[in-house]
């Protein structure tokens, strides 16, 4: 069937109580303040998520340029384009930025943008905290790259193995900058995860019980829980590293009761789930796109959701397979090999379900759908090459070779970047109100798809050919020149594809065709509101009667009324069944999150140079938090009465 969703604004227009004025009233209450001040004080989830996405893409761009530079250096043997010092900084900041400044923030930002809309609420749960998260993330990212541009770029590898990253072998402040960047981004990531979790569990539209939550939202919830569990490990580890370096703690010093391997365990206990943190949202995006473009809900909703949850759990049992060469007992080997194998099962199930969705659907192959097919083609290579790495004996041969960058890029580009680009094309109309060019989109897709294969398949082969990774050059007689050159050419294709993508975005922003509220005929609630989305998202909070909110057989969209329009109010519902529970007043724009982030920034950055900075930063943060928590007016009003206005209309 072809769903005919009912845009909410139409409902607003026909409201007897002067709909235009309702829009105005809500707009007045929910919009950001004017000018720069308004920008700095915004607590709107869409504003913050959007600037976060843009920031993430900016970092992605810089890190991509770094990758390109590295590929130029490696294009031929004994190249002298970049020396080891700069090369090491480049590959370290490339990896760190891609992982910590792009991949996680961007998927979380997409979540923060679309999750509230998809579940039918007006803002995320803790808007000021959300703003704070963004500012810390921004500070962390700027810190890393200002380090790079002042020759203080971390050069120890994104994995920061001690003792190379320790005080003895990484002099100066390079590693400290890395460690604090981690702290900043982990604060931001944890904040975002809390936002998503609380928002999803407490602010879903009435009727959206947990078994009706869209797979995309489920993916984001699973990812957020994983962030909550995994990120503290790396944040702790990086804090321990910084303390080892700055105030002479002994966490990683074998001689004083510490251990270099402790770092690896802590890091990979985060680092392996990290990969899944990054691509589970990708699976969510794929689910959303597949459903919309196949014109049917995702096949096997329960299986897909349970698979996502299973992947989330299992991903915490695999970290040791990064450390097989450190070494490991036979029993340990078997356990971690088996655990690694096990995770392939739920991953397989999701892929099979999507294939089944397409199989039984009526797909349109617009650019977003192309990216989904690209995802299946690339990610499967990534996953299957991962099986080689999870097999201890084979891993001993190919770990730390170029096979690994090949594998991880297949996984991350295939599993996360392709879905993300699909999502970009898919939701661009919702965010901007304009369509992207299909032609340019398709060309750039094919460039990227071919580019990724040309770049990274040779790397898989190079690994098998015995080329170690993280090398700034290789000898002429190694016989690796041809494959490396191929790989570098592939990188050029990727760069070209990226360029077209940027042009497409720019052109579409300026002159893209206007998109209606629902250009794709989507399934989920975001397509029920106008494009671009209004500041308050929903004039009336919708009531959901099924999994596919907009494809419900009734075709009608019930709505809740009774939220105050003169202040920022959110409807809270119960955790499982989303029964309306209470109204919650949300804060107005405020500068406090920025100030708090700055105070934290002062502490963490000054602390790199002198431990006194931590103290000063701590005091400043305390002051900022005091301002944050200063009581003004009661913040939670228990709803005395709420009404559910059945507003059934065609």
């Amino acid at each position: 069937m072809s769903a005919q969703p009912l845009p909410a604004e139409r409902a607003v227009e026909s409201d007897p109580n002067s709909p235009a004025s309702l829009h105005d009233r809500l707009e007045r209450v929910w919009r950001n303040g004017p000018g720069l001040w308004g920008w700095l004080t915004s607590v709107n989830h869409k504003s913050i998520a959007l600037r976060s996405i843009i920031t993430a893409f900016a970092f992605f761009g810089i890190a991509g340029v770094e990758a390109a530079l590295m590929r130029v250096q490696l294009a031929r043997p004994e190249n002298s384009f970049i020396g080891p010092d700069l090369y090491n900084q480049l590959f370290t900041t490339h990896g760190s930025a891609m992982m910590f400044l792009f991949a996680v923030p961007v998927v979380q930002s997409v979540a923060l943008y679309f999750v509230p809309i998809m579940i039918g609420t007006r803002n995320v749960a803790f808007p000021r905290l959300n703003a704070f998260g963004y500012w810390t993330y921004l500070i962390g990212g700027v810190l890393l790259f200002s380090g790079l541009f002042t020759n203080t770029g971390p050069d120890q590898g994104w994995f920061s193995y001690v003792p190379l990253a320790g005080p003895g072998f990484s002099p100066g402040k390079r590693v400290d900058i890395w460690a604090q960047m981690i702290t900043f981004t982990e604060i931001a990531a944890i904040v975002a995860a809390i936002e998503v979790i609380v928002t999803v569990f407490k602010q879903r539209a009435p009727g959206m019980s947990l078994n009706r939550v869209p797979p995309f939202v489920w993916a984001m919830v699973v990812m957020s829980f994983m962030v909550l569990v995994a990120m503290p490990y790396v944040a702790t580890a990086s804090a321990m590293l910084a303390m080892d370096r700055l105030i002479a703690t002994q966490f990683f010093n074998y001689a004083e009761g510490g251990d270099a391997l402790l770092w690896q365990h802590l890091f990979w206990f985060f680092g392996h789930p990290e990969v899944y943190i990054i691509f589970i949202p990708g699976l969510g995006m794929v689910s959303a796109i597949v459903a919309t473009f196949s014109r049917r809900p995702v096949f096997g909703y329960t299986a897909v959701v349970l698979s996502l949850v299973a992947i989330g759990f299992l991903s915490f049992g695999l970290w040791v397979h990064h450390m097989f060469a450190t070494p490991l007992t036979q029993t340990g080997q078997s356990f971690f090999t088996a655990a690694s194998a096990m995770i392939a099962i739920p991953t397989g199930v999701t892929i099979f379900c999507w294939i089944a969705t397409i199989w039984s659907g009526r797909p349109r192959f617009d650019t977003p759908m192309l990216y989904v097919v690209g995802f299946i083609a690339l990610f499967t290579i990534g996953g299957l090459s991962g099986l080689l790495l999870a097999s201890v004996p084979v891993d001993l041969q190919i770990t730390d070779t170029d096979f690994l960058p090949g594998h991880i890029h297949y996984v991350l580009l295939g599993g996360m970047v392709f879905p993300l680009f699909g999502a970009l094309h898919y939701w661009f109309p919702k965010v901007t109100g304009r369509m992207m060019s299909e032609r340019l989109g398709k060309v750039s897709f094919w460039l990227l798809f071919i580019g990724v294969n040309v770049t990274f398949f040779p790397q898989l082969l190079l690994g098998i050919a015995g080329m170690p990774r993280r090398v700034y050059t290789y000898l002429a007689d190694s016989g690796w020149g041809g494959l490396n050159l191929t790989s570098s050419i592939g990188a050029g294709l990727i760069a070209l594809g990226m360029l077209l993508l940027v042009i497409n975005v720019a052109r579409s922003l300026a002159a893209g065709a206007a998109a209606g509220a629902d250009p794709w005929g989507g399934e989920t609630l975001e397509w029920a509101i106008s494009s671009p989305a209004p500041d308050y998202n929903f004039a009336y909070i919708p009531i959901v009667h099924g999994r596919s909110a907009l494809w419900a057989d009734t075709g009608d969209l019930d709505a809740v009324a009774g939220l105050r329009e003169d202040r920022r109010e959110i409807l809270q519902t119960t955790m499982l069944d989303a029964v309306p529970d209470s109204r919650h007043e949300h804060p107005d724009p405020t500068i406090v999150p920025l100030l708090t982030a700055l105070a934290v920034g002062v502490g963490l950055i000054w602390g790199i140079f002198d431990p006194i900075g931590f103290v000063v930063g701590g005091v400043l943060t305390f002051i900022a938090l005091a301002a944050w928590g200063w009581p003004e007016k009661p913040s939670l009003t228990r709803a005395r009465s709420w009404r559910c206005q059945s507003d059934r209309r065609r």
């Binding site: 020759n151 203080t152 002099p171 402040k173 001689a255 140079f609």
Partner: protein, 192 residues
């Protein structure tokens, strides 16, 4: 008018930032292949300011390793590997005098220290002439200075990866050098 004030203000801020950046670059530079001031230059450094007649203008040789984290770290490795630590321990001394205190018999400036290493000193300090390259001499001197807090804290080494036997150089308090030669008293700028 206003714009100009703005510009000036921003210019000032930019200048401070640029200085900070330049300092950061200097601190973090890895000088692999830089030409260093050659041996005769530091050999000409005088230890004493008392000179008959009119004192000659002071010869200044700038140590390229001052304030450079990488060089100080290299100096630290060399200090261990070339058995400096055999006599001076990790600054506390033993066969040789301590280096972490504020007694500087032959001067505390980088040039003085380099001269001491190159020429040797009569009561047991061997002469390393021709044994150590200029660059490494500066690195050693910078590390030796960091042992008593004469180097800035930020580039000074952190704790060892090994047994702990003293407070690391990064946290060693600055101690005003004491010696007969006034040249060895640090200029204000030398204070971290």
């Amino acid at each position: 008018m206003r714009t100009r004030r703005y510009l000036r203000q921003w210019g000032r801020i930019a200048a401070i930032c640029a200085l900070g950046l330049a300092l950061a670059c200097e601190r973090e530079k890895r000088r692999f292949n830089d030409a260093s001031p050659s041996a005769p230059a530091y050999a000409a450094v005088t230890l004493d300011t008392l000179q008959p007649g009119v004192p000659s203008p002071e010869l200044t040789v700038k140590s390229p390793s001052e304030g450079n984290a990488y060089d100080i770290a290299q100096g630290k490795q060399l200090f261990e590997q070339w058995n400096c630590s055999g006599c001076h321990s990790h600054g506390g001394g033993g066969m040789g005098p301590p280096l972490m205190d504020n007694e500087w018999i032959y001067g505390s400036s980088p040039e003085n220290i380099v001269a001491t290493i190159v020429e040797g000193r009569p009561n047991g300090m061997p002469s390393f002439r021709n044994r150590i390259t200029a660059n490494q001499l500066w690195q050693l001197a910078a590390y030796v200075r960091s042992m008593s807090g004469l180097e800035a804290k930020a580039p000074s080494p952190g704790r060892n990866d090994g047994m702990q036997y003293k407070v690391d150089e990064q946290r060693t308090p600055f101690r005003t050098p004491r010696a007969s030669a006034s040249k060895t008293l640090p200029a204000k700028s030398e204070r971290p």
